[in-house]
Symmetry: C2
């Protein structure tokens, strides 16, 4: 059965499931829309952390230990910067720098981020289409109790997401690119990958039109939590800080108007009643959602697509 799938993804966890989907779907049937709220400029370079994580993961060159960055990376350029007395709170690897140099160069030549991403991912041999959520500037800004307003990378990398978040702001009036618009028009299923709902998915929703388009599409959300804890990163902490319980029912209420199926871990116990209280029509699918190995990714993608096809579509 040919099924046009649009996946939404942020960083490491989302990239893993996107990689699984890429292994089970024909490339022309999969489009991955990626968060750009974390994008920023560093030493004049245009950095797109989530796009790169998804790109490197699908290309099979991601650092298997960290999940982000490139395997067999070296750090000579930024070590040199350190010797020049620079404050090294955000380091870029040497191989990774090749990506940022080319992206920045092509953007300066007038290409859109969508076109740049297409060119980079083609050269890396990636079959599915990777799309930034928008070609416009959309910056996630974090208001915190302890440090006031912080840029995303300051909050996330410099302060290691320790400050208490009081508000998330998505700066900029971002519109969908024609590529995102077409992908959502043609989509028969949306998969929201196990990414941080507030930091990775919410900024995608902040692009004008995306949330509305999703409301009209069959949508399966894969939880980034197990037993109330994020598998990686601050999803649970941030959900708590911004008024969502870090649980299946918290996710159900966050995705209330969008999700038709919620995939949670088999060890999360019986949460059916709690979820139904928040989202009466939501289908709950409990399975092993941990992706430790490469086959785990493909396996989870297969189970999700089978479940959705049999039970929901």
């Amino acid at each position: 059965m040919a099924l046009k799938v649009v996946a939404l993804a942020g960083g490491v966890g989302g990239a893993k499931l996107a990689h699984g989907l890429a292994q089970v779907l024909p490339p022309e049937d999969l489009t991955i829309i990626v968060n750009v709220g974390d994008d920023f400029q560093h030493y004049g370079l245009s950095i797109s952390p989530d796009l790169d994580t998804v790109m490197y993961t699908l290309a099979g060159i991601a650092n298997p230990v960290t999940g982000w960055g490139i395997i067999d990376e070296t750090w000579q350029a930024f070590t040199a910067l350190e010797h020049y007395g620079e404050d090294m709170w955000f380091r870029l690897g040497d191989r990774d720098l090749g990506t940022h140099l080319l992206r920045t160069h092509l953007l300066n030549q007038g290409l859109r981020l969508t076109e740049v991403t297409q060119r980079l991912s083609q050269h890396l041999g990636i079959g599915p289409t990777l799309l930034p959520a928008t070609d416009d500037t959309l910056a996630t800004v974090v208001n915190t109790h302890e440090k006031g307003v912080l840029g995303f990378q300051e909050y996330f990398v410099k302060y290691k997401w320790q400050p208490t978040v009081t508000e998330l702001i998505f700066e900029g009036r971002a519109a969908m690119s024609s590529e995102v618009q077409i992908a959502l028009t043609e989509a028969q299923l949306v998969v929201i990958c196990p990414s941080n709902p507030l930091l990775s998915i919410a900024p995608i929703f902040a692009v004008a039109g995306i949330r509305d388009a999703l409301c009209d599409l069959p949508c399966v959300v894969v939880s980034p939590l197990i037993g109330g804890r994020a598998l990686k990163g601050p999803a649970d902490k941030l959900m708590r800080e911004l008024g969502y319980e870090p649980s299946a029912s918290g996710l159900a209420s966050f995705y209330a108007d969008i999700a038709n199926v919620l995939v949670i871990d088999e060890h999360d116990g019986d949460v059916q009643a709690a979820v139904q209280a928040v989202a009466p029509t939501l289908h709950l699918y409990q399975t092993n959602i941990v992706m430790q190995t490469l086959p785990d990714r493909q396996d989870l993608a297969n189970r999700i697509l089978s479940y959705v096809s049999e039970v929901y579509l």
Copy 2:
């Protein structure tokens, strides 16, 4: 004897003698004015090849094999760019990239190249003052028989200086910085290092005021030729193409209104008569000018300063 020396230098050969001078003069008595005609933009980075060669040489971190670039360099970033299908006619090393990233960043913040160079060289522990010949844009452009007009790096790196040069053009109206002006006002001796007269020194002369200031100062020129051949690079080829004999008398006529002493190699034979025919008052000093080892640099600097002090000053 305290002697305020200004040295003019281009790339590898000039940097070696500048390094020698740095070892025999107190840091406060040596200013090195460096060619910026080769400077260019590459992937959005501001590259100053001659400044970097002099800087790395004086810092003791130059690649001893090539004379330019940094020792123990790696090439991961530009190998990544190559995997993205980029044409790699000009590669930058990873450690070297640290310099270009910081220089570009500081220039974009509004610092002058002179200020940036000062900051970089201080962090590298360099004592003498390194000054770009100008803070303005001054671009060496090469008109060639075979390929028409070429940017300097295209001519030098892409086409390996093989096209026949019909004309050199120094684009831009460049003025002296106040730092260059003060250095030339205070100078008691000018040493023109063994750099290509047409590609490295002529663009320094193209900065308004520098040539005039040099005419009023005692000046020793160190030949970049031995037996009519450049020790490195295309000095002889280019002199021939632009109407100068690649010899002591060719140098004497190129530097006629500036040089008081010309230092040539001991193996160049008896050229006294030929030189005097072109420059009757020029002092000729023949000595071993080859700098193969680190002590050779200091040694040549010492011999030149002794000769000039005894015979000329």
